[in-house]
C-alpha cells in the first residue's frame, strides 16, 4: 500500500507546486491551484490532447471490441486448426505495447510502405498515412484495433460458459442464428462485454507507446497524435514542468474514474448477472 500511496500523495502535493525535477526540493514553491487553472483556461495543448484522446478512444475501443467479439464467435466452434487460429489472432496483443511493433507499423504505413504497395495493386494511390496529420491518428487507431487478441480470448472464455441448452431451447422455439445471438449470446455474455469495455476504455485512454514511437515523442505531425499521456510526458520531461505534469496526471485519474463510474451506472441497464439481482 505504501508503495502506491506515498508516490501518489507526493504527486498530488507536487501538482500544487512549480516542481521542475532539477531544482533542489527546497526551491519547490506552493502555487495553489495555478497548475489546474492554467490547464483549463490557458493551455491550448491540454484541450487539444483531450480532444485527440477522446476521438481515439471513441473510435478504437468499440471497433476493437467488435472485432474481438466477431472473431471470438468464429473461433468458438470445433474445426481443424482452431487452436492455431486462436494463437494467430492472439499474437498481436502478446506483442502488446511493444516498441518494435509500433516501428513496424510506422514503416508499413509510410508513403512507400507495404500498405500503399498493396493499395497500388488495386490502382489506389495511398496517402503518407503516418506522416500526414489527417491520417496519423487513424493509423494509430488501426494499430490498436488490430491488437484485439486479449479481449478476444476473454470473449472466448465467456462464450464457452454459455450452456448449450439455451441454444437448443431457442432453436426449438424457432429462433434463427441472428435471433439466438441477440436473445441468448449477448445477454449471457454481457458481464464479459462489460468487463472488456471497462478495461479497454481505460487502456484506450492511456495509449502512449505507439503515439510516442510514431511521433518521436512529439505528438506530431502537427500535434495530430498528441495523446493525453504523451502531452503529460512532454510537459514533464521535455519542458521539465513536473508539477504541472503531476496536475495533468491527477486530472487524468479523476477523468478515468468518472468515465468508469459512468460505465458502471449504464451497466445496470444492459448487463445481466445470471445469479441474482435481475432474475
Amino acid at each position: 500500500m505504501g508503495i502506491t500511496a506515498v508516490p501518489m500523495l507526493l504527486s498530488l502535493y507536487l501538482s500544487f507546486t512549480n516542481y521542475d525535477a532539477l531544482s533542489d526540493f527546497s526551491a519547490v514553491e506552493w502555487i495553489g491551484l495555478d497548475n489546474y487553472r492554467e490547464m483549463f483556461t490557458a493551455d491550448a495543448s491540454f484541450w487539444h490532447a483531450v480532444r485527440v484522446t477522446i476521438t481515439f478512444a471513441l473510435v478504437a475501443v468499440p471497433l476493437k471490441l467488435a472485432a474481438a467479439l466477431g472473431v471470438a464467435l468464429l473461433l468458438n466452434r470445433a474445426f481443424r486448426g482452431v487452436g492455431l487460429f486462436r494463437g494467430l489472432f492472439y499474437l498481436p496483443s502478446l506483442l502488446g505495447g511493444s516498441v518494435a511493433l509500433a516501428i513496424v507499423w510506422v514503416n508499413m504505413f509510410n508513403r512507400d510502405g507495404a500498405f500503399n504497395s498493396l493499395l497500388s495493386v488495386f490502382g489506389i494511390e495511398g496517402a503518407p498515412w503516418v506522416n500526414d496529420p489527417r491520417w496519423a491518428l487513424e493509423t494509430l487507431m488501426a494499430l490498436a484495433i488490430w491488437q484485439f487478441g486479449a479481449p478476444m480470448v476473454i470473449f472466448l472464455a465467456g462464450l464457452k460458459q454459455i450452456p448449450v441448452e439455451l441454444y437448443e431451447a431457442a432453436s426449438v422455439d424457432g429462433a434463427g442464428p441472428w435471433r439466438q445471438f441477440r436473445a441468448v449470446t449477448l445477454p449471457m455474455l454481457s458481464p464479459v462485454i462489460f468487463f472488456n469495455l471497462v478495461l479497454e476504455t481505460i487502456n484506450g485512454f492511456q495509449g502512449f507507446t505507439s503515439a510516442f514511437v510514431l511521433s518521436n515523442g512529439t505528438g506530431g505531425p502537427v500535434d495530430s497524435t498528441l495523446m493525453y499521456t504523451l502531452n503529460l510526458y512532454i510537459k514533464g520531461f521535455t519542458e521539465l514542468r513536473m508539477g504541472y505534469a503531476s496536475a495533468l496526471a491527477w486530472v487524468f485519474l479523476v477523468a478515468i474514474a468518472l468515465i468508469t463510474v459512468l460505465l458502471f451506472s449504464t451497466g445496470r441497464f444492459w448487463v445481466h448477472y445470471a445469479d441474482g439481482e435481475d432474475r
Partner: protein, 452 residues
C-alpha cells in the same frame, strides 16, 4: 451454491449460470484495479550539496560518468577513461551510456532522485536548463585556480559554456552548421555543387533546378529547423535570443516561413509529409541519406555518421548566406554535478580528457573538433578516416569565417525548438498561412522563455 466455472460438458446445468466474470465480485475487482492505477510521476528528492571528500588522495574512488552516443563513442570513451585509471589507479569509473533518444529523460530522472552522475555529457539545448537550476557545478574557480586548463581553447568556445556568469560546462568539441549535399546525385545529373556564400535566393533556385533535372527534390525544407532559422536571423543582424528575450520579431518568423513557402511552391523541396520525415534529429532518417532530397541541414560533425547510412558520396558546405553568421558551437559539454562528493576528481577527469595528448588521440573528433587547439592540430594531422578528414577541412575553412558566438540558449529553449517544428509544419501542410503560424509561434516562444 458456489462452484468453480468449468466446462459445461461435465457440469449438470441449473437455472443459475455463472460466467467467469459475473457477480458483484467483478465490480469490486475493477474498483480495486482503479485505485491502483499507477501514476508515472512520483520521483522527487533533494539534491545533496555535500562538500568534497578531499582527505586522502589515494583513497579508492568510483566516479560515475554518463554520456549519450553510439557504440563507437562508447569504445573510445572507455579507452580514454582507462588511460586515466592507469595514471590514477585509485580512480575507477562507473560508465553509463545510451542513445540520444531518452538520454535527457534519464538524466532528469536521476537528477530528480538526487542521484545525478558525478560527470555527465550535456548539450546547449539543456545546459541552461540545468545550470539555471543549480544542478551543474560552477567551474570558474577551478579554471582560475589552474585545475581546469582551457587556455588553449578558442575563447568563444569557453564563453559558450557560461550561463549567468558561471562556467557550467566545458565545451567538448566544436562544430558548426553544415549543409550536406548528395554529390553522387549531382554528378550523375551533371549538376553543379552548391557553394558556401551563395545567397538564399540563389540556393533555392539551385535546388529548384536539381528537382527538375534529377527528379529528386533539391533540398530539405529547413523552415522547422531552429539552427537554420538562427543563422538566417544572424545574417540580418538579429539573433535567436537577446539577453532574456527573443532576438527576433513575429515579422521575422513570417518572412522565414514565406521564404520556404515560396521554395515549396517552386518545387525546390519535397512534399510536407517527406519534410516531416526529415524533421527528426535521427541521423539515419535525414533525407540526404534516405535519397528523398538533395541536401540536409545538419551539424558538420555529423558527416561521418551520415556517411555510414548511404553509399552515395556526400559533400558539406556552410548554410546559405554570409557564413560569418555561423559560429563555433560547442557540440556538447561535460558538466559536473554540484551535489557530487567527488567534484575535484571529476574536474580533473574533464581536464585530462580535454588536454592530455594521449587521451585526445584516442577520442579523436568523435565529439566534434577537439576544443584544445593544439590537440585539434595534432588530431587532424594524424586522422586517417577520409570522411573525418573532409569534415575537419570544412570546419577549419568555415572556422576562419566565423563570427562571434551567440549567447547560450535560454531556459525554455527546447520548447522554442519544438514549437518551431509545429508552426513550420502547420504552414507546410497548408493548414495555416505563414503569417498565422508566425503569430502563434511568436506568442508561444515568448511564453516558453518566460518573456513578459
Amino acid at each position: 451454491m458456489h462452484r468453480a466455472p468449468s466446462s459445461r460438458a461435465v457440469e449438470p446445468t441449473t437455472r443459475h449460470h455463472r460466467t467467469a466474470f459475473s457477480g458483484p465480485g467483478l465490480r469490486r475487482r475493477l474498483l480495486a484495479a482503479l485505485v491502483t492505477i499507477p501514476l508515472a510521476l512520483a520521483a522527487a528528492a533533494c539534491g545533496d550539496d555535500g562538500g568534497d571528500s578531499a582527505a586522502d588522495p589515494n583513497k579508492p574512488v568510483e566516479l560515475s560518468i554518463f554520456w549519450w552516443g553510439a557504440e563507437g563513442r562508447a569504445k573510445l570513451t572507455e579507452d580514454a577513461l582507462a588511460l586515466y585509471t592507469k595514471k590514477h589507479p585509485n580512480v575507477t569509473f562507473k560508465k553509463t551510456w545510451q542513445a540520444n533518444q531518452g538520454y535527457f529523460d534519464k538524466l532528469a530522472t536521476l537528477t530528480a532522485g538526487g542521484d545525478a552522475p558525478d560527470l555527465f555529457q550535456i548539450d546547449d539545448n539543456y545546459l541552461t536548463e540545468y545550470a539555471s537550476r543549480n544542478v551543474t557545478l560552477d567551474l570558474t574557480s577551478y579554471k582560475d585556480g589552474g585545475k581546469l586548463d582551457v587556455s588553449k581553447f578558442p575563447e568563444s568556445l569557453v564563453n559558450y559554456g557560461i550561463v549567468d556568469g558561471k562556467l557550467a560546462g566545458v565545451a567538448f568539441g566544436e562544430n558548426t552548421q553544415g549543409l550536406v549535399f548528395n554529390k553522387t546525385l549531382l554528378d550523375k545529373n551533371k549538376l553543379p555543387a552548391p557553394t558556401t556564400g551563395m545567397t538564399w535566393a540563389d540556393f533555392i533556385t539551385w535546388a529548384e533546378n536539381v528537382s527538375k533535372t534529377a527528379k529528386v527534390p533539391g533540398t530539405q525544407d529547413p523552415s522547422a529547423d531552429y539552427k537554420a532559422f538562427w543563422v538566417w536571423l544572424r545574417q540580418q543582424g538579429k539573433d535567436l535570443y537577446k539577453d532574456k528575450a527573443l532576438g527576433f520579431t513575429e515579422q521575422d518568423v513570417a518572412g522565414w516561413f514565406e521564404l520556404w513557402k515560396g521554395a515549396r511552391d517552386r518545387g525546390a523541396t519535397p512534399t510536407a509529409d517527406v519534410i516531416h520525415e526529415g524533421n527528426v534529429t535521427d541521423i539515419s532518417k535525414q533525407l540526404v541519406v534516405t535519397g528523398k532530397a538533395g541536401t540536409s541541414w545538419v551539424w558538420a560533425n555529423q558527416m561521418p555518421e551520415l556517411k555510414k547510412n548511404t553509399k552515395d558520396e556526400l559533400g558539406v558546405i556552410a548554410y546559405p548566406g554570409d557564413p560569418s553568421a555561423q559560429w563555433a558551437r560547442a557540440s556538447m559539454y561535460f558538466s559536473v554535478f554540484r551535489g557530487s562528493d567527488k567534484k575535484d576528481i571529476a574536474v580533473d577527469v574533464i581536464n585530462f580528457l580535454s588536454n592530455d595528448p594521449e587521451a585526445a588521440a584516442v577520442l579523436g573528433t568523435d565529439r566534434g573538433l577537439p576544443s584544445n587547439l593544439d590537440i585539434r592540430k595534432s588530431v587532424s594531422d594524424s586522422v586517417s578516416d577520409p570522411n573525418m578528414k573532409v569534415a575537419i577541412t570544412v570546419q577549419t575553412e568555415l572556422g576562419a569565417k566565423f563570427g562571434a558566438s551567440p549567447q547560450v540558449p535560454l531556459k525554455g529553449h527546447s520548447k522554442v525548438r519544438a514549437e518551431l517544428i509545429k508552426a513550420a509544419e502547420e504552414v507546410q501542410f497548408g493548414r495555416q498561412t505563414p503569417a498565422e503560424a508566425a503569430k502563434a509561434y511568436f506568442a508561444v516562444a515568448q511564453a516558453a522563455i518566460g518573456q513578459a
